[in-house]
Point group: C3
Chain length 139, copies 3
């Protein structure tokens, strides 16, 4: 049994930039030579999130519209009065979507569905270089 | 310390079918003979999700109404234009609810509350045989 | 490689009480002497949740307003007809926010961002003493 931490950085644009990081993660898993266990993906910071969906232009647009519907950019947020940085919407979106995802792997491969990609979202109102931590525990 | 992967399949109906899988998972944990560690439940595919709630007919109806409120079946989704399969709502719901849940266990039992069940949801617009992966790491 | 379970209790008020538990968790990790691995935080019960956000009064208020917007206290819930305890809203909120969070740690410290705190929410309509389970696996 081994435990391995890796990390990588991703350049992201602001306002709900969706990045497919499945390739990054699969490569890290492959290089570990681990066969069976769990892999945890964690985005560092308060305005990023991780989940899975089918990464294609139509659904990407649907996700952006969904986030806009439940926490609109233009709404007035108390957080903006605290710091004056006008990104309250991005904090609320990131908090409910969550920064972490744990995926089992077997025979050296993540147990994702065919169309199920791991997606990093930068909700912030500016470009950010995002740090993603990848932890693997297994054998 | 051991790492074990198991999986099982569940027949589900379409349009927000809620399945209590606590019994399946507890049985798998029990058969592992592990006493202390974590168990990760992961549903394979882009239109399923895992969370916990009190599985009873009233709350089940509330959850269905909640999902319908935040991502209605009848809304127009860009994803539907990509594939023509009219299940955009199910992808959005699955993405924000998430496919994965990690639960500690101690003395061979999950640390769930008395009324806290693990629920698999099939958000797709058709019946699906769902694969659920259960990973346990512990001793 | 070791696996450790700890737990602690937190007194919470009702109706969306937000508690910053980052200090509790960091102390437990520190006392474990583990350097590299994952830490899982799990709240026991059907009306509590765990996520991360910047814990400051403005954003705390935004989160309360967000939860009120998507699952209002005053709405009629079928769950309330089952038990007559008028906390249907808290079950719906807890179910979609989720009870569990897994965070990598390295060099003995959680990989959280500078402003990213771990927050326990009590959504119930009454004060609750909440049990939080903290599992660590690593070396």
């Amino acid at each position: 049994m081994k435990v391995i931490n890796e990390e990588f950085r991703v350049s992201t644009k602001g306002y709900c930039d969706l990045i497919n990081i499945t390739g990054h993660i699969s490569k890290i898993l492959s290089q570990s030579n681990l066969q069976r266990g769990i892999l945890t993906v964690f985005v560092v910071g308060s305005t990023g999130a991780i989940t899975t969906f089918e990464y294609e232009p139509g659904l990407n647009q649907d996700m952006k519209e969904f986030y806009e519907q439940i926490a609109p950019v233009k709404k007035r947020y108390h957080h903006d009065e605290t710091w004056g940085d006008a990104n309250g919407f991005s904090h609320v979106r990131a908090a409910f979507q969550g920064p972490s995802l744990t995926i089992p792997f077997d025979k050296g491969a993540l147990t994702l569905g065919t169309w199920q990609q791991v997606v990093l979202t930068n909700f912030d109102n500016q470009p950010r270089s995002r740090t993603v931590v990848v932890n693997m525990i297994g054998e």
